[in-house]
């Protein structure tokens, strides 16, 4: 095998580890997948703080219109639009994507596949650097003349295409450049993930021996690659419309604004699954380890994930039912949209069935993983209302939509991330996390989360539509009970944001004084737990592991211990 040829090289490599490399070279320009994963993770978390702060600012305006918001000031309608636009953009493209796909993908794929790095380490580094630049460009866009872009994260033209309409001459273009750069970064990252998982797995690791989280990140990367192309082309076209006077989306000169919506949602809907699947993968791994249970119907879960991915390309126009598309198209997209509930429901059923007969340890990672399922179900079932054309006539653009996708994105981006982060924290940093603080943080996040968004379902059902900075202008939406619910949601948000301090404090305390973590603190099966905590450069030392069985062999009847690591011959 090629491996034996390369082994001398690998030895060389380990020799380097002891060299005293500069801090800058080691942490800023490293090609090590774990360092790059941490770069993505911390950039994503920093962006989450910005996105959370934006949410605080505009929710304060909604609860107490016209007030001087502490740390911000009075929120004008232009600022309000910019805040909601960039909150959405940041949370999806600069939090969910980098943390779930890039950070966990980078960290876990080589470790779980039993190899020392990604197949293209330098491409990997370049991908992060481009991503970093994209984040800088986005932040820059808030400070240019006219302020940040305020045409919603969907950026529908003509509003987004012409400065005379959007009133953000540079903000809109910088926003677009940032998004396009971010796509390029993730294309590079995605190619790396897929190729690594396809080609560099440990000897003996067949396709059904791959941990679910790796599978899910790979499927998500392929979905991303297959869906983002038209939007990249669309971004170029929109940029030309903004800056060079073309009229791709300008109906006055022969363009078509609906075209953008198709390009955007052809990407936008698969994008939901791009971030959902990695979170589902993380949850699968956590519940199997903490439940001491084999994943129920591994292959079914895998095939339903692939099926969901394929189907997700056929549903995009359910975002456009009332956008002026041919009314007959709505029938087709209603059917495909409801069909996609089948594989997703099946996946959720498999996860629930996994709990049966287990021995569940309800520690912090497990609580996050279980709460993912419990809350994501709400997001899933409320989607049916929006995918059914007849009901969407009423619900389109209401807070019902908003509450629905926050019940999907919040479990994905926040709960999924915390599940993964607390689960792999001992591996990443070599210390155990404080359980008490972890549980305080959990309950302090999950309860306010529901108190933010359950009222918004009610408001949405009552017709409150989105992206309005002050409801006083609409008599049917300015009722006192509605305002009370808005205040409840805002106060819950502040409580939830406050409890995030517990998380950061927990990280700090655990890193400083946490118990030293052994290599395999959870008695888990997958290969990353074979490496020391934290894994050194090269991950596994001189000898890379081989794999003898699937990843979820817990409580196997032939074995006295309740786990059976993948790398143990017998």
């Amino acid at each position: 095998m090629a491996e034996t040829i390369a082994t001398p090289g690998a030895h060389d490599d380990h020799g380097h580890e002891h060299h005293d490399e500069g801090w800058v070279k080691k942490y800023l320009f490293s090609t090590d997948h774990k360092i790059i994963a941490m770069q993505y993770m911390f950039t994503g978390m920093a962006m989450a703080v910005i996105g959370g702060f934006f949410a605080y600012a505009f929710r304060m305006q909604l609860a107490f219109p016209g007030m001087e918001v502490p740390l911000w000031g009075v929120v004008t309608s232009a600022e309000y639009n910019s805040l909601v636009t960039n909150h959405g953009t940041i949370m999806i493209f600069w939090v969910a994507m980098p943390v779930l796909i890039a950070a966990f993908g980078n960290y876990l794929i080589p470790l779980m596949c039993g190899v020392d790095d990604m197949v293209f380490p330098r491409l990997n580094r370049l991908s992060y650097q481009i991503f970093f630049v994209s984040a800088v460009v986005l932040i820059w866009s808030f400070f240019v003349e006219g302020g940040g872009f305020g045409g919603a994260w969907t950026a529908y033209p003509p509003l987004s295409a012409k400065a005379e309409y959007s009133l953000t001459p540079s903000g809109a273009s910088l926003w677009l450049i940032a998004v396009a750069l971010e796509f390029v970064a993730f294309l590079m990252g995605g190619i790396n993930f897929v190729t690594t998982a396809m080609n560099s797995r440990a000897k003996g690791m067949g396709i059904y021996d791959i941990p679910m989280v790796v599978w899910m990140i790979v499927i998500a990367s392929i979905l991303f690659m297959a869906s983002v192309g038209p939007l990249i082309a669309g971004a170029v076209m929109l940029f030309f419309d903004q800056q060079l006077g073309t009229a791709f989306f300008d109906p006055a000169q022969g363009g078509d604004p609906i075209l953008w919506q198709h390009l955007f949602w052809f990407f936008g809907h698969p994008e939901v699954y791009v971030v959902l699947l990695p979170a589902m993968g993380i949850v699968a791994d956590v519940i199997c380890v903490m439940g001491r249970k084999k994943l129920f119907a591994y292959r079914t879960v895998l095939f339903t994930a692939i099926g969901t991915g394929v189907l997700s390309f056929t549903v995009w126009a359910h975002h456009q039912f009332i956008a002026g598309i041919d009314p007959r198209m709505a029938h087709v997209f209603t059917i495909t949209t409801l069909l996609i509930s089948i594989p997703i429901a099946e996946m959720c059923f498999c996860y629930i069935a996994t709990l049966y007969g287990g021995s569940l340890t309800l520690n912090t990672p497990m609580l996050w993983a279980l709460s993912f399922i419990a809350t994501f179900l709400i997001g899933g079932v409320t989607g049916i209302f929006l995918g059914a054309s007849g009901a969407d006539i009423y619900f389109h653009d209401t807070y019902f939509v908003l509450a629905h996708f926050h019940y999907t994105f919040f479990p994905i981006a926040i709960i999924g991330t915390f599940a993964g982060f607390t689960f792999w924290f001992p591996k990443m940093f070599g210390r155990m996390m404080n359980e008490t603080l972890g549980k305080i943080h959990f309950w302090g996040t999950i309860i306010p989360f529901n108190l933010i968004f359950l009222p918004l379902f009610v408001l949405g059902a009552a017709g409150q539509h989105r992206r309005i900075y002050n409801y006083d202008n609409f008599p049917e939406l300015a009722l006192p009970w509605m305002q009370d619910l808005r205040i409840l949601a805002t106060l819950s948000l502040i409580v939830m944001l406050g409890f995030q301090l517990v998380f950061f404090y927990n990280c700090y305390v655990s890193l400083r004084r946490g118990k030293k973590a052994p290599a395999n603190p959870w008695n888990a099966n997958t290969l990353e737990w074979l490496a020391p905590s934290p894994p050194p450069h090269g991950n596994f030392g001189d000898k890379l592991p081989e794999v003898y069985r699937g990843p979820y062999e817990y409580n196997h009847p032939d074995r006295s211990e309740d786990f059976w690591p993948q790398h143990v011959p017998n």
């Binding site: 309608s77 232009a78 309000y80 639009n81 305020g150 045409g151 003509p158 509003l159 309409y165 959007s166 109906p251 604004p257 439940g291 249970k293 084999k294 129920f296 119907a297 591994y298 079914t300 009332i322 002026g324 009314p327 209603t334 059917i335 409801l338 089948i342 429901a345 099946e346 059923f349 629930i352 069935a353 049966y356 007969g357 021995s359 569940l360 309800l362 399922i373 179900l377 079932v381 209302f385 059914a388 054309s389 007849g390 009901a391 006539i393 009423y394 619900f395 389109h396 653009d397 209401t398 059902a461 017709g463 989105r466 309005i468 900075y469 049917e476 409580n555 196997h556 009847p557 309740d562």
Partner: protein, 229 residues
């Protein structure tokens, strides 16, 4: 469900509310069932000393039944929802009944212009009644609206009608409604259209035949402008 919050003021509002109720019942059942099973499993299989977990692959037919049967039942529910939703959509958006009157609705940043037919019952004639942010319709009459936009996307939303439709510059989109009760209600723009999106509201006045005729006589001159409030 929705009628608790908002009156039903068009012929198709009860249909849309009925679809929403149908979906709520079906998915509500599955949601509460799944959550109940889920929490029951958590409490039942919480770690106990000396009790080992079971080894269940889930790949065998007898085990998979627990997934495939509910999954087929979900599919059946989906079919009901699809049929309900498609029928309502067909009636509201796809097939337009013959109009008894036509109004033109024009969105622009950030106001609505409504061109009502005058006493001759036609638009685009000299006696059209053009109003800003104020729309007058007669109860029990089938209207067609011709929706246009002058600049960016807007959305003509009349919540009590359960009616929503994007307005697209360069196109005229035709739809219909028939009001079933009199009163004064909101018209909202439901598609972000710039910094004034939050003030882009209007009012619809649904009048009985007599009141509508009186209103029309009050606007004998071709144009007149009123403000929403």
């Amino acid at each position: 469900m929705i009628e608790r919050y908002l009156e039903q003021a068009s012929t198709f509002a009860p249909d849309i509310d009925a679809v929403i109720l149908l979906i709520a019942v079906l998915v509500g059942f599955w949601f509460f069932l799944s959550e109940a099973v889920f929490f029951w499993l958590i409490f039942k299989f919480k770690k106990k000393d000396g009790v080992k977990g079971e080894y269940v692959s889930g790949e065998e037919k007898s085990q998979k039944r627990w997934i495939t049967v509910p999954h087929l039942l979900v599919l059946v529910c989906d079919v009901f929802i699809i049929v309900g939703a498609v029928r309502v959509w067909h009636d509201v958006k796809q097939v337009l009944p013959e109009p008894q009157a036509t109004v033109r609705v024009i969105g622009q940043q950030w106001a609505w212009t409504f061109i009502h037919p005058g006493p001759d019952g036609q638009i685009d004639t000299a006696d059209d009644i053009t109003l800003i942010d104020e729309m007058h319709v007669q109860e029990g009459v089938v209207y067609h609206y011709q929706l246009e936009s002058k600049d960016v996307l807007h959305n003509f939303s009349v919540p009590v009608f359960r009616l929503k439709q994007d307005a697209i510059p360069g196109r005229t989109i035709t739809g219909w409604f028939e009001a079933t009760r009199t009163g004064e209600y909101d018209i909202q723009c439901a598609e972000i259209c710039g910094i004034g999106h939050g003030i882009m509201g209007a009012r619809i006045f649904i009048e009985s035949k007599e009141d509508h005729a009186a209103w029309m006589n009050g606007h004998a001159k071709p144009t007149s402008v009123a403000t929403a409030r």
